[in-house]
């Protein structure tokens, strides 16, 4: 069943936990990193107090996590279970536990300067909830329709890896039969054949030994009123038709012939959820009887549980009641409201005002407008503003701080967080570690391979030669591979760059050569040959130029996957123009996805930054779309006009108002 349940704070301390089987802490760590810090799955409401049912489940090797978050207290509730189990009651459990925990220990959580919450008593509340929901969970899901549809989503998402048995947790002993039946049904659902699960199929049929498909054909034939006359050329068509339509229920009449009937649903493959939960209800009622029988022996435990149950129910009920009452605003006459407005104005100047959604709305609109003016794509601007708004609702402004100043600082923090790379991007250090690895690491020295992709005309070759110049200054031996075998003049263009670079760096000791195979060859093969050549000749770095391609041209984009497989670059950089507008999001997404599974872009180079002044919003759009960091910024026409990206600089430019 449940593998573990944890209650932890945003500061990383686990307040309460219960585990039934050992779950690696990396599961929850990666959950926190992906969902809360890097915001990979783009849930706009990742910071809101939604119920666990609305939050999309997070999946991490074989485990599914259902979670909810209380923003004011900074507490996260996570339930971990095996992905191959469909536990529809877990969301309800997470929500209920949240309500109970916040009710019981909420005041302890707001204490400053401590991480201790005395919640050892919580064990029995949890046990009570778990037992209650486990036994009645199926009914709850059956009762409310929206829960059921959500269950369908979960079921669709769950990958079918049913061969494995989960390690049996402490509570599993009563549940094993149910588990088996669920697994059975799921194997049916994964579409093997509906016939396996039908015990009513008569063993001996008058028609003789026929397979399932034959009998289906026979039935079809019967329906078309041409009895026992199935011709060979007709059957494939029938089969196809039968496969396409939804599977119908079948009844066996006295002769043993099948007749088709609508209404009785036996098809478990697509939307068999209703019948699934029906079956679960049936099972759970049977289970309750068993439970009652076993409880007879330990009446004392039952008594205690009942008592607790009442308390828990009252907590849940009061929480349910308070929900609608908070939404209805209290109208307290003219005097009250005018006093409130005056107080609000006063607080706006002095500070100490608790921000509400209405306060923020107007200011956020202004901020969004500002970002759009800075050439941030609309999608990214909306997401940023939504993130800041949810972060600020309910926050008190500091003394003598206006709302706008607060929003400004929150936006600054959120932009900084977005643009800051997860790991350091020191290119020279990386090259060093590949070219001359430390003797302890047991790696063989090999050339460091970088390739550059992008849309036509954004400056791929120019930025490649800029990087080359930078590397030559640091005394590396560089090989430039002419991977653009398509556009006429591309190889010659690179040859000119190489000639210039040679002359420029002849004194400083760098060495650069061009590797080219002319036009018309396969770019991936050229790249692979170039890497092999560089390894043989002792080059340090290989820079591969590629042909420019439109990001929505499927034919050209698909060749990138082969390219990534053949050349195996250490870094794939995409060049993006600062000039481009909303299209940047689509460009980045398509290029990021083009290298096949498990390989994406490693960084962006933003070219032509000198032409846009303050409007560097493209940076934000690109990072927003892909979570890929920006490495370099091109700021001019010369070889030396390449800068490493600085987050502070970008944030300053984005927020400057001119």
């Amino acid at each position: 069943m449940l593998d573990s349940f944890e209650i932890l704070t945003t500061s990383g301390v686990v307040l309460w936990s219960r585990s039934y089987s050992s779950v690696s802490p990396s599961v929850i760590n990666s959950f926190i990193t992906d969902v809360f810090i890097e915001e990979k799955n783009k849930v706009s409401g990742a910071k809101e107090n939604q119920s666990a049912a609305v939050n999309p489940p997070y999946k991490h090797d074989q485990h599914t996590l259902r979670w909810t978050f209380v923003k004011e207290l900074g507490v996260i509730f996570v339930a971990v279970y095996r992905s191959l189990l469909h536990l529809s009651w877990v969301e309800k459990l997470v929500d209920n536990i949240k309500t109970i925990f916040v009710n019981l220990y909420g005041d302890q959580l707001t204490k400053p300067n401590t991480t201790i919450v005395e919640c050892a008593e919580f064990d029995k509340y949890f046990d009570q909830q778990l037992q209650e929901l486990e036994s009645s969970g199926a009914k709850i899901t059956y009762g409310s329709s929206d829960l059921r549809s959500r269950g369908a989503d979960a079921e669709e998402q769950a990958s079918g890896n049913f061969g494995e048995k989960p390690p049996s947790p402490a509570l599993i002993h009563r549940r094993i039969p149910e588990l088996d039946t669920i697994a059975d049904e799921d194997s049916v659902a994964s579409g093997l054949s509906p016939n396996i699960s039908r015990p009513t199929t008569p063993a001996t049929r008058p028609d003789g030994p026929r397979g399932a498909k034959v009998s289906r054909r026979a039935r079809r034939v019967q329906n078309t009123a041409s009895a026992h006359a199935s011709s060979g050329d007709e059957s494939p068509r029938h089969k196809k038709a039968a496969a396409k339509g939804p599977k119908k229920g079948r009844k066996w009449d006295d002769d043993g012939n099948a007749t088709e009937e609508d209404g009785v649903q036996l098809d478990y493959s697509a939307k068999g959820l209703t019948s699934d939960s029906e079956a679960e209800v049936g099972r759970s009622t049977a289970l309750e009887e068993v439970d009652d029988a076993t409880w007879g022996s330990r009446s004392k435990g039952k008594f205690v549980l009942r008592d607790l149950g009442d308390e828990v129910h009252s907590i849940l009920a009061s929480a349910e009641q308070s929900k609608p009452s908070t939404t209805s605003p209290s109208s307290t006459g003219l005097v009250g409201s005018s006093l409130k407005t005056i107080g609000g104005l006063f607080r706006n100047v002095v500070g100490g005002k608790t921000l509400t959604k209405e306060d923020l709305d107007k200011a956020m609109k202004g901020m969004e407008e500002h970002l759009l003016k800075k050439n941030v794509a609309r999608e990214a601007a909306v997401r940023l503003c939504a993130g800041v708004e949810t972060e600020l609702v309910g926050v008190k402004t500091a003394s003598f701080e206006s709302i706008n100043a607060r929003i400004q600082s929150a936006m600054e923090a959120s932009l900084t967080k977005m643009l800051t790379p997860t790991s350091s991007l020191d290119l020279l250090r990386e090259i060093d570690s590949v070219v001359s690895p430390p003797p302890t690491s047991l790696r063989k020295p090999r050339p460091y391979v970088m390739s550059i992709v992008g849309v036509n005309g954004v400056g791929k070759s120019t930025n490649l030669s800029k990087i080359c110049f930078f590397l030559l200054q640091n005394k590396y031996k560089v090989l430039i591979a002419a991977g653009d075998t398509f556009r006429s003049g591309a190889v010659e263009q690179l040859a000119v760059h190489v000639r210039n670079l040679k002359e420029l760096t002849a004194r400083e000791g760098g060495r650069v050569e061009l590797y080219q195979k002319g036009y018309g060859k396969d770019a991936a093969t050229v790249a692979k040959d170039a890497v092999g050549f560089a390894a043989a000749e002792g080059y340090d770095v290989v820079l591969i130029d590629t042909a420019g391609r439109r990001h929505n041209d499927q034919r050209l984009m698909s060749s990138l996957e082969k390219f990534a497989k053949f050349a195996r670059p250490d870094k794939i950089l995409m060049v993006g123009e600062a000039l481009v507008g909303t299209d940047s999001v689509a460009q980045a997404k398509n290029f990021n996805a083009a290298f096949g599974a498990g390989r994406g872009l490693d960084g962006f180079i933003i070219s032509k930054c000198d032409t846009v002044g303050d409007m560097v919003g493209t940076l934000v759009s690109l990072v927003h779309a892909t979570n890929v960091p920006i490495l370099f910024v091109g700021v001019g026409q010369h070889y030396s006009d390449l800068r490493s990206f600085s987050v502070k600089w970008a944030v300053e430019k984005l927020l400057s108002s001119t």
Partner: protein
């Protein structure tokens, strides 16, 4: 009509009453004059903490054990007299709580005894020792969230942070000694940033008075594990790695904030150079020039058989 009339009358009489010099008006006016500043003062002070305690900052890469150390130090005095309620929730024998990746900084109020020999587990009230209170501030170690921690160190701390920055007494940099890979990549880079921020503090202020010294403790954690490097080895590795980082950074590209016109004016020598400028090898001793003392001490938060955290604790108590 009548209502309006009566309202006007009321206003009139009210105005008259307030403008005639009667004792009631004097008293009320006097009260307002006397109380208004007091009330304002209370409003203002209630929002800000009454005193700012000296602070010790816990920094380090993710997964090094910062939050675990924080909880261990906080729960240390409690675990010496085992309470029946906490026995069920704590699974291991040690008193540090289970932790996961942090997203927000957390701070804990601790008391450092003046008698340095006392362990952190000693209940100070029972021992009757005199102690200084301080805040231990845990910061998230994830790459995206380091900016906040670094801003607390640097000279660029904004006005709000100024107060807390001046109370910063020491920095504890926690490292996972059992993981040499992150130690020499992520950990070393973060340490470089921290030390550089501290170095920039000197000479950045408006006055000629040097800011107070902020010592750094590199706490090599997880020494109970078999694969862990001893503290001396951690030290030499870090020094070698920091030297490499500073070399590649000096050769790296200029930051994007450098404008075209500023290019000719050569960047100030050694602006971003950690330690003694131009020196080939880096050692933590070079940081003494900038009033930054660096110590490397080993220990372990979890597990048994290691040196524990007592040395770190006495180091912290010494610096408060």
């Amino acid at each position: 009509m009548e209502q309006q009339q009566s309202l006007l009358d009321m206003l009139k009489s009210f105005l008259e009453a307030t403008l005639t010099p009667s004792p009631a008006v004097f008293i009320i006016g006097g009260l307002i004059v006397l109380l208004a500043p007091i009330i304002l003062h209370h409003l203002y002070t209630r929002t800000t903490p009454y005193t700012s305690l000296p602070a010790v900052l816990l920094v380090g890469p993710s997964g090094a054990g910062k939050t675990a150390l924080l909880t261990l130090l906080e729960r240390g005095p409690l675990s010496s007299n085992p309470s029946p309620s906490s026995s069920s929730s704590s699974s291991s024998s040690s008193s540090a709580a289970q932790t996961h990746t942090s997203q927000v900084p957390a701070s804990v109020e601790l008391a450092a005894p003046e008698d340095k020999s006392l362990s952190f587990r000693t209940d100070l009230d029972a021992a009757g020792a005199t102690a200084t209170k301080f805040l231990l501030v845990d910061t998230p170690g994830h790459g995206k969230l380091r900016a906040a921690a670094l801003s607390k160190l640097g000279p660029t701390a904004s006005k709000d942070d100024k107060k807390s920055s001046s109370r910063l007494k020491a920095v504890v940099f926690v490292l996972d000694a059992a993981d040499p890979d992150t130690l020499s990549t992520d950990g070393a880079e973060y340490l470089y940033d921290v030390l550089l921020a501290l170095q920039k503090r000197t000479g950045s202020g408006k006055t000629s008075r040097a800011p107070h010294a902020v010592p750094v403790l590199v706490a090599a954690n997880k020494l109970d594990l078999f694969t862990a490097l001893p503290a001396a080895l951690v030290r030499s590795r870090l020094e070698a790695e920091l030297a490499r980082i500073r070399r590649t950074r000096s050769k790296g590209l200029l930051g994007a904030s450098v404008g075209a016109d500023e290019l000719d004016a050569a960047p100030e020598e050694g602006d971003d150079w950690l330690g003694e400028y131009g020196s080939d090898k880096f050692s933590f001793g070079q940081m003494r020039e900038f009033d930054v003392d660096v110590d490397v001490i080993g220990g372990n938060v979890l597990g048994e058989g290691g040196p524990g955290v007592d040395k770190w604790w006495s180091w912290i108590a010494d610096k408060i």
